[in-house]
Each structure stands twice: as C-alpha cells, then as structure tokens.
Symmetry: D2
Subunit: 436 residues, 4 copies
C-alpha cells in the first residue's frame, strides 16, 4: 500500500500532521470503509497550531486523549484506590511514553496528568506534580499537532464540607501552575455535582483561557438530581465554552446524556461546543452512579472493554450528534483513540501516524496465511460479529452495589484505615435487607 | 503501610531485587492472601545473576515476560497481520518502556523482541532488528534481576517446503546475532509441528547455551497429530533443557498440555524443566488450532482478557504442577505478570517493584470513599466474583473457523494480495456446506 | 409428612377446597418457607361460592388461571398464528383437562376459552365455540372453588377501522352467549388501545355482571401513548370494578405498570381492585409493544420461561403491591399457578390440591439418593441459584423487531396470504436502514 | 392451504394414520422445508399394525413418545423426588390425555407409564399401577398407529446390594403384568450400569417378545467405566434387538454415544436396531453423570428446554446416523415429538395428526398482522436465530455438583428422612475442599 511507503515522516521530523489530497475523498460521508489515502502532503510547515476554540469554531474535529490512571495502573505506575498521578515525578518516562502513544494515535490534546493532584490529595507533592505534568504534556504536544490542557477534577471534600472557599482555593492552586506553565486551555472534569463544577468553572475562567467542563453523570443527571440539560445551562452561564460528559458511563449512555445537555442549551438559547470522553467499557447495567458501583470495578472490568470497532461506532454517533471534541476516559487505550481518528478520517482528511501500523477495518489481515483469517479483513465482518466473552460460567450483566446510598452521607466519608470486620458486617446486613 | 515507606530503592539504585525476612512467612503455603512483607532487605549487592539452569535447578521460580506483539499493536507500533518486530529500530523507546514494565512487574527474563524476525519475514532488515532487540533487552535486564533470552519461532515456509536445510539456516542466522550479543540463553517458541521445533533445538544447542523449547499446541497435540507427551520427549532428546507450551490456548488448557508433556517425560524416564507461557485470553471454545481460528481473532478478543485474579489462579496451578518457568504470551500485560509474582511471593520471599503500586487482593481499595467499594478489598471478594461481560446481546462462546483445514494444504499458502471476491465466495460455500 | 397422609379428599369427593387450622399459622408473614399445614378441614360443605367482588372486597386473594393458547399449541390443539380456540369443539377433552389442571393448581377462576372467538375471527363457528367454552368452564369450576368468567379481547379490526358500532356488536355477540350460559363475571382483556378497552367495558356492563378489564401494555402506556394511570382511570370510569394488565410483558415489568395504574387511580380518587396476569417469560429486552416483537416469538421462547421460584417471587410482589387478583397469561403452565398458591398459602390458609404432588421449596428432594440433590431441598438454594441457559453460543437479550412501526399503519393490515418475496425484501431494506 | 381443508378425518374416525400420495414427494431428501402434502389417503382400513421389528427391519422410522414424569409433574400429577407413576390409578384422565397428545404428535409407541413402578418403589400398589398403565396405553394405541411397550428401569437397590436374584425378581414381577396385558414389546431403559441392564434384558427375553434396551449414559460410558461400544455389545449378546440411549444428556451428546455404540457393534460384527430417546434440555456442561448433577435439576431447567427447531435438527441427525427408533425422554413435550414427525415427513410420506395445528417451519405466521412477525414464517429464520435467554444476570453454563462421588458409595444410600443440618454441613465442607 502506498501508505506504507510514503508515510514515514515521523522518522525524520517531529511534525506528524498531514493532510490528504482531498480530491480522493469524494464519496458520501458515512461509516468509513477501507478508506484509501494515496497522497500525503505535509501540511504544517510552520508548526503553529490553532487554539481550541478556533478549531472548534471552524468545525474541525478535535480528538481528545484517553485513559491515564487505569492504563498506568496496568503498566505498574498508579495505585488503584488512590488514583493519584505521582508517576509524573516518579516515572516520567512511563508517562511521556503514554502521551506519545496518544499523540501518534491522533490526539489533538495532551491533557496534563493532574487528576486528583490537588493539595488535599497529594499533600506537599502537589506543586511538583502539577508542574512536571505540564512539562511532559508540553514536550510531547510539541512533537505533533496537539494542544496542552490543564486539568482539574472534583475534590474529595465536597461531599462532606461543601466549603466553597476552600474548594475554590484548591482549584486555584492548580490553576496557578497551569498559568505559569502557560497551558493552552483548561478542563474541569469528573464532577458528580453541578454546584462544584460551577465553582471550578468560575475559578478557571479567571485565567482568561478557554474552559471546558465535563461531568461524570448519566441521563438521570447529577447526584443531587439536577438533570443534564440544566447542568449544561449552569456550566455555560458560569463561563464554560465547551461542555459535556466524561467517565462513569459507556459511549452509548454518555451520548444520551450529551444529547440531553444539547437540548437543554437549545431550550435556553445558549451556545457551547460539545465534548464527550466516555468510558471504554460496556456498562448497560449501571445505575445513576456509574461504573464505580459495578461489582467489577476496578479489577474485573476486562470483559467490558470496548473493541476498536465499538469505538468507531461511537465516534460516528458522536459526530452525528454534533459533538466535535471527541475523546475518551477510563479504559481508552491508544488504539481506541486511533479508532476515533480512523472513523473520522474522511471528514478530517487525514489518518493519524499510528495508522501506519493499522489497516482500516482489519485490512492488515489480507496477508494472513489462513484463508479464513484473511476473510476477516472486511468492514462487514467486524461490524456484524457478536464477539463472545469466553466466559460461559459468567453472566452478561451485574447488579450495581450502592446499597441505597445515592448521595453524600456519613457512610461516604473517606477512611484512611481498612474496612473493619464490623463495618463489613453492617454493609452485608444492609445489602441483605435491600435485596429482599 | 510499611511497604510504601521502605520500598523505594528503585529511585536510588538500579538493583530492584529484595528478599523478605523469612521469619514473617511462617504460614502454610496456599493461595496468597494479603501477604504482608514488613521487612525488605537488599539481597543483591553484587549485581551478579545466576544462569537460567542454576536457578531452575535450585528450585527457584523464574517469571517470564508477557505479550509484545499484541501489546505494542494496541500501543500503535506493531501491525496486526504482519506481526513483525520492526519497532525495535523504528520506535526503540516504546519497546524499551515495555521491557521496563515487565521488569518492574517481576519478570526474570527479558526475551529479545525477535519474533518472526528471520530473513524470510523481514528481508534485509532482519539483522539490524535482531541486534537492536538484543541491545534493548540487555539494557533493561541490567536494571534488575533478569536474564536475556534470544528467541526464535516457527518459520512461515515449513508448511509448504519442509526444507530442513533452508529452515535451519534461517534459525542459524538469528542465532549468530544472539551469540555475538551474548544472550544468556535461548528460546525456541511457537511451534505447531514438533518436527520443526526439533530442528530449531538442534540448531540452537550448537551455541552451547541452555535451550528452552515451547510449542503452541493443546492437549490434542501438534498439527500432525503427535501427542504432547511425545513432543516433549523428542524436544528433550534433541537437547532442550526446558520444555513446555506457549500461546494459542488459555492457562487452563495450556496446563493440561504441560501435564501431558510431564507425563510423557516421566514415562520415558527423561528429565527437563517445565515452562508455560499461555494466552491471557479465556478460550474454552478453541479447537485444535487455538485462538487464531476463533472468529474474534485478533480485533475482538477484549472480553476474553484474563483478570489479575485469573492469573494468580494460573500461577498457583502452574506451581503446583511443578512448572517453575512461569510467564505469558499474547494478551499478557505487565499487570498480569505482576499477578504471577504476587501469587508466588510467599514461595519466593519477595514482591516485585510494581507491587509498590498494587495492594494484594485489592487492598488498595481500603481507602476508597464508598463503603461498598472498600468492601471489595478482600481476597474472597475477587476470587468468588463472577464478572459480567457487559454485553447482553453477545454469546459466551464462539464456534472456531477453520473450515475443515487442520493441516498444511495449498489453501494455507501465504498470499501477498488481498483475498479476492472469488476466494471469499469459495470460502463461504465451503463453510456453508460444513455447517449443515 | 402429615400432608401426604391426611390430604387425600380428592379421591373420594369432588370438593377440593380446604382450610387450614389457622392456629398453626402464627408466624410472621413473609416469603413462605417449608410451610407446614398439619390440619386440614373441609370448608365447603355447601358448595356455595362467593362472587368475585365479595371475595375481593373481603381481602381474599383470587388466583386466576394461566395460558390456554400457548399451552394447547404445545399439546397440539391450537394453531400458532391463528391463535383461535376451536379446540373447545374439536377436542373438548384436551381443554377440559387443562381447566382441571389449573383448578387443581389453585385457580379460583375458570376463564372461558373464548380468546379471539368473535365472529370476525371464527366466522360461522363463533357461537358454538363460545357456548362450548362456557360449558367446559362451568363443568370444571363445579369441581372446586372456582368462578366462571366470560372473556373477550381486542378485535382484529380496530387498527384499521375504529368502527365503534361494529366492534361493540362483536363484543355484544359474545356477551349474549355468556349471559345465556350465566357466567359469574366478565373479563375484557388484551387491549393495546384504551379506547377499544373502554368500548368493551361499556358493552359488558350492560349485563349487570362484574367486569374486569386488563390491557396488554407496559409502563410506557397504550399504543397511542396514553399512560397506564390514565388508562386505569378511563376503565374505571367506564364501569370496570377490577383493572390491571395481562400478557405482553414479564411479571416485573407488568407490576411496574400496575403500580402506575394504581397511582393514577389514587390521584383521581377512584377505587378498583387490581389484577395482574403477566407472561411467564423473562422479557427485559422488550420495547413498548411487548414480546410479540421479540425475535423469539412464538417458537423460540423456551429459554425465557419462568421457574416456579420466579413465580413465587412475582406472587409475593404482586401481593405486596396490593394486587388481589393474581394469575398469569401466555406461558403460565399449571405449575406456575401452583407456585402462586403456594407462595400465598400463609395468607390464604390453605394449599391447592396439586401441592399434594409438590414439596414446598423442593422439599420432595429430601428423599433423593444423591446427597447433593437432597441438599437442594431448601428455599435458600432455589432462591439464590442463578440458573444457566445451557446455550453458550446464544446471547442473553435480543433486539426487538418492529422496524419503526409503533402504531397502526397500512403495514399492519392483516393478510390472508403468505408474505411475498417482495414484501420480505422491503422489510429487510427498512430494517437495514434503521440499524445503521 | 389444502391441508386445512382435506385433513379432518380425526373428526369422523378414530383411525388417524394417513399416507401421502408419494408422487408429490419427488424432491431431494434433506432438512424438510415447507413440505406440502396435497393429497391424503386413508392407509389403514384394517387396523392391523406391524410389530416393532417388522417395522424397523423394513427401514421404517418408528417415533417414540416423550416425557411423562417431568410433564405430569408440571401438570400436577407426579411428585418430584419420588418420580413414581401412581397417577395411572389416581388420575387416569391426565395420563390418558398425555398419551393422546403423543399419539396425535406422531408417536408410534405408547410406552406404559411404569417407570420406577417396581415393588421396591411402590410397595403394595405396584401391581395395580402396572396393570392400569397397560390398559391406558392400549386404549390410546388403539386410536392410531401405535404399539404398546412395557417399560422397566434400573432399580434403586442395585447401587448397594447388587443382588442379581432379587433385582431380576423385581423385573420379572413387572414382566408378568406386561405378559398378562399382552403388550407388543418390551423396553428396559434408564440403566447407569450395563451389568444391571443385562440382567434386565435376560429377564425380559424370557417372554419371547422383542426387547429394546437403552442406557442413560454419555460418551464416557457407564458409571463403572464400561465404554458405550462394549455396553452395546453386551446388551445385544444378552438378547436385545434394539439398543441405544435415553435420558441424562441432550440430543447432541446422546447421538455421540449412540455412534460409539454403533461402532462397537460393527467392530464385534453384531447387528441391532438403534434407538435414541435423549433429554429435551441443552446440557453442554454435564459431566459423566448427566443432568441430575446440574445445579438446576429438577426445578430450574426451564432455560435449557429445546425448541421444536432444535428437535428437528436432532431428528435429522439421528436419521442420518442410522437411528430408526427416534423419540425423547425428560423434557420432551408433545410438540417436540411432532417436530420429529415433521422433520422426517419426507422420508415417511405423511404428517402426524397434530400437524393440522402446526405450519411447517412457522408457516402459520403467514397470516399474522405484523409484517415482521409474518417474516418469521421461514425455515431460514428459525434455523439461524440464536434465541436469547432473557436472563442477563445468569450464566450460560453451570458446574455440575457431584463432589467427587462418581460411583456407588455409602453416601448414595437412599434416605427416607430430610437431609440434616449436619449432613448439609459435611457436604458443603467437601464441596469447598474440592473447589480449591
């Protein structure tokens, strides 16, 4: 294939962004199928990249990045339960490598690996972590067509204290590092309560940089019962230019939520760009609180992981809904991001660098020895295959835990100690009572 | 926890290997449960590492590494269908990083990433690839307690030509690089036919280095019908010191095959060390030819991926069977290798570096906010959980393809071109006929 | 057990109804567990039975009967597709036997087997069929404690014609036979549109007999979008004394609908007795139109059939919701009805005759040879068992057909001829378009 | 359709057997598809029926009957755990009706409902039960083209006593009633040990009537490890003219066993007719002891029930294997027997009476209102549909109980009392130990 021979600029240049001779892309826009890009031209001699809002306003698709915490947990650098990003100082090579993989896969945003990196979670290390994360993101972004986004998330103290001043201070501390490191824009993500998300937006807009805000909610709305449409309205009124959802639910459910947000904005005659960064897990059985409550979280989620074809479907559906900032959250590995870039290649006019190592719709199998494996090098094959779980002794859905606690209560207070036998016993009693 | 505070030598030293004060490990040896290692002592001041045979003969457990092709395909550096390791020269950072992750996870062997890197597959690049792969493996092995193994696998020409001289020459070419780079031992792996595996062993033993040989077969034996016990006997007679299986089947099926090999050796009064490097996929529905024939191969295997707990179970069962070289093949990510090291920590007396970021049996969840998530920080929870697939519209098992072709025929000739419409039609006709 | 010895009046008498010495039933009312009824006394020397409303008003549980069409299709007397009850004249023994089984199982109502037996479906045979059905129901009802209910259902012409006069005439014709045969009360069931159900109630109340009305709708309401609460209100205002749902959905979904009906009545300050006769199939994957649209209807529903334990759970939940007329529809076999009677035996004070052949919660297994089968003679065993489908190549849920047709259109016109190739092709095209 | 109009002789005559004008059956013999029988002629004016061996020797297909114990348990006349046929005297109408349904469905054999009706199980009632069962079978057989077979099965005492004389006496007692009632031939069925089955055959052949013998074993052979081929040889040498399997396994597994029996006979140069009467349950997860050990036995087998299409497939495969006595055991309802008769209608030249109420391959749906339901009136539809279980929280396979007991031990001694708490505790301990 032509691609193999002509597409090797990444070996000699740090500019990885290419456009396709658009004359070859004349077909109808639908689900991409064995798209052929025969001519590649270097598009970005200058190295200048447009800002996030310019891109979105011009109708361009912006591809987000994927999962850092979950991916690096599996690689050995993040501790489940804590879910903090000290790896940026402890193992910068590992973090840099993951950024590189997302960049190669097509990401246009290098989000700083600063999830939960506020002072309340990281104590004295917080500042070093935020600074190092910015440096790593910027270093890799500079090797391709990507922007750097400084990211903050919900605090662990909102549930108990709701202390607006204290919480805003935590946000402001991280923001100061982002400003110092001059990130390109800001993301407030993973909020279960719109009130706290609004506080985040209010804090971030002070910087003058564009602000994106996403909540980890489903169609039922935030944990205080505020529906998605109203959440969207409040976030935009607070100053967010881009709104949407991230984490907690699978692509299908997440896009339902984004649709409700969109309708809420339309009803309020407000405008914002739409963003979605869902899980790469199938979660048809979640309740309002998302995948945390599934019994498989976090060490038994394997069978739920989306295939690349699931993600191509998601990318198309997000695009059709009007979402233009399309990425992923927990579970999104580099090949999932590549799947977004491949699905939307006809619209964007180019493939990501990592597609050098990927035949569209399995076309790399054309050269397989076995004829029945060669026969899988077709879009129809992968689109229609109902893949098996390989686990005949297991069910297909789970009943979420949660034991009736749907909002902040004393039970949800974070503990530093292990759960005691007595606490376990109380939980089981409660669960038993509920299941009757 | 004590571990967190005391176990940070990797930051100041390149020696990562530690022993436990064995006085704290007095309990009965069973499935490990919240093993506590309160005292860590530096064990290897010298940096000298023992050879593979010395280790195995002393009864030590040797932990292999995991999946390179499949893992790097998902990271964007290997092309499915080709499955060749040109990444060692194109993207050495990515390969190095993966080696590092396996080392941190507990691997005692850095296998050179030279799968399919013989001249028939890689043409003029073959020599550079083999040399670079050796350098990368050695570089990382030097940072911990690991040996370097030079690896070769079955050729693509055996099925058509069975030209012993030509095939042995291909093996010898790679061996010459391994000798030049002075690897510690050699692995001949992924053989479907014992005849070709014996040729490989015969070639490799000329080097004087220890030779391990594994076949990608199940309990039914090799593709010419030679049973596992007889395969084992032939390999040992040819000179292999370590024999076993790799790839193609899940841990459960693979250990059945190793058991048959062991019984074959015992019946023939032969001795060898046992080795297993199975898939990290559940494949209860495979036929004789393994996971290649499953309709999900290679882009829809996600729901079959083993959990860390599945792998702990595998490690224990392998150990109980007498296997002492325990690793993995396709699908094994660093956290799977860590699971082997954690399960066998009581026997080995130490945990791997990456366990710094992993609580045994989920104990990291002890600090989670939600009480029902904290309640998951228990061995009993994860051992007994029947995790859901999240795919209610999908089945739990698939019928393998294969269409009646169980051994080398003209149909299996590798093609350079895409499958034609006519060929597809013929395949579907044949499949239709068989399913009636 | 005492039951075995003392409970044999059915051999010497046609009066099957017994009460328990209530002094032995002092425990708390919950899910029944190995209920022991040591003393049986003959309660009905007179043979006089109370009317349906007297029973319900006194708080008594009335147990309905089960599936005639589906059950007799499997026995060879009803034709799927037609679903008409000509068996009452062609094979009266088969129909009588099924009535007897439901009576023995605990049914208090013998519903005339007159489903779809209006003139538009049965032509000249309609009158004979209705008369014979009444005679059979009365004959069997006389052998126990059961009432006879004359039943009508929605017409096949409503969807196209909505001709109130013509439809009411069809209802009136059946009613005249019921009046002549002096049934005890009337049931208007299986209505997808509340408008037609109201017409039925308006017709039936002219007889002066009590009228029950059930719709085959789910929580989304009737096929014109009328919500369940409003359907209930209209039916009661039209004169129905008993309202609820039957058919189309499983017990769980059906009780959700009944709950909405109950709330609708409460909001309107109306009173009526509640009735539920759901499917004995698990249908979590249904859309608004119910199980007809599931791809498995009607010849592949086997794996969805409820166990007796599922039905005990349903009976308890229905009772707790306040439903006092509890029966079943398609799929309910005699043992399912027996399960209702056994679950509610503590409240009712007696077991049905067929419990002579059934140990509560599997206690009959106490005498099994194998100890592990004996160990199944426990409530906890059957309540907690997640039974396997035995079909590892099959999914757990299906996507309903329906192709976008959610209400009456020309496409839904009944045809007398087979579907043509051209019609099939058009359907597939439409389906294909929708699934993209 | 022509069938509807012309096929009504059952209303005017008690002779139900018809042949097809074979000139209309010219097509190739394969899986039947919308077979049309336009002309029906009365074939049996005389009422004389050929014996079982004459039929089989002429190559005719003999269709057995189905499940009595399980079916009548669901109808309320048999007690699970006991599994004895006292219903023949307690509720003869219910037994007669089931015989009639099987006759209408196409059965050529009315097997006396005498399973477990030996003196050791039924005490003083045994003789009345055997006599009444013969009368009922003869009465119904006379209404169609069916023979009466007297049936015996394994005793409950073989496992402990192995007292040949005592066991043969039990067999002889039943045989004496069969001789008195002049049944047409004899069936020894449901034997787990070939030794006892041989005793049964030796007893039965003394009558001079043809003897069929079936064992409830799988491909692994009898519970003492005798392989199926050798079982077959011993049974034929003992005098059985017809041999095969019944119960315990699904059709697929059962036919594998029959194939092994056939091969055993061929190797020994013996001849016998082949017979199969498998379960109508899917049991891919059984171990050697069959469905009794599945956790779902006997009250949770619903999702495993075969569809009519599964049974058509079974009938075709049995026929292709050379089996000519084709019936069913537990779970076979009348519609399953009809499916055998319909699948083999092209070979036999006629349809059973109950096909009057069944369109071949769902053709009755041609007249359904909804176009997508009409579209299901096709062989391709039902053959290819992977029906859903409707149970997303359940697995597809179960692990059989059995706890290591694979042959007669003290634990298997039948008890008359309920399992004690102490016994349950011991069982759970044993199970726990084994699962580790």
């Amino acid at each position: 294939m032509e691609i193999e021979r002509s597409f090797k600029p990444y070996l000699t240049s740090h500019v990885w962004f290419h456009t396709v001779n658009r004359t070859v892309l004349g077909g109808p826009v639908g689900r991409s199928s064995h798209v052929c890009f025969n001519f590649w031209l270097l598009s970005l001699d200058t190295g200048l990249t447009q800002g996030i809002l310019e891109r979105l306003e011009s109708g361009e698709v912006v591809i987000g990045d994927g999962s850092f915490l979950i991916t690096l947990e599996k690689r050995g650098y993040v501790k489940a339960g804590l879910w903090t990003p000290e790896a940026v100082i402890e193992h910068p090579d590992a973090v840099r490598q993951l950024h590189m993989e997302f960049l190669r896969a097509g990401s246009n945003v290098m989000q700083t690996f600063t999830f939960s990196a506020s002072e309340d979670n990281m104590e004295s290390k917080w500042e070093d972590v935020n600074a190092a994360a910015c440096d790593l993101a910027r270093e890799v972004a500079g090797k391709g067509d990507a922007l750097v986004a400084g990211g903050i998330c919900q605090t662990s103290i909102y549930k108990y204290h709701k202390d607006e001043a204290r919480i805003k201070k935590l946000f402001r501390q991280q923001l100061e590092v982002f400003a110092w490191k001059n990130v390109d824009f800001l993301i407030a993500e993973y909020f279960e309560h719109v009130e706290e998300a609004v506080w985040a937006v209010e804090t971030l807009i002070a910087s003058g940089k564009p602000v994106a805000a996403t909540m980890c909610i489903g169609p039922e709305g935030d944990l205080h019962g505020v529906p998605p449409g109203e959440c969207a309205v409040r976030l935009v009124k607070a100053g967010a230019s881009i709104i949407g959802v991230n984490c907690h639910f699978d692509p299908t459910i997440s896009l339902k939520t984004v649709k409700l947000m969109k309708e809420g904005l339309e009803a309020a005659r407000l405008k914002a760009h739409l963003m979605s960064q869902p899980l790469a897990y199938h979660t048809p059985d979640c309740n309002k609180q998302g995948f945390i409550d599934l019994p498989e979280f976090p060490f038994g989620l394997e069978p739920r992981v989306a295939t690349r074809w699931d993600i191509q479907k998601y990318a198309r559906e997000a695009y059709n809904l009007g979402v233009r900032y399309i990425g992923g959250c927990c579970g999104f590995e580099p090949y999932h991001i590549r799947a977004i870039a491949e699905e939307l290649a006809p619209e964007r006019g180019f493939l990501p660098p990592a597609s050098e190592k990927h035949g569209s719709w399995g076309s790399g199998l054309d050269m397989h020895t076995k004829p029945w494996v060669r026969a899988r090098a077709r879009k129809e094959y992968w689109e229609n295959l109902r893949i098996a779980s390989g686990r005949p002794y297991n069910p297909s859905m789970s009943k979420p835990d949660g034991w009736g606690v749907t909002k902040g209560t004393a039970e949800l207070m974070q503990q530093k100690e292990a759960t005691t036998e007595q606490q376990l016993k109380e939980l089981f009693e409660k669960q038993k009572f509920k299941s009757q």
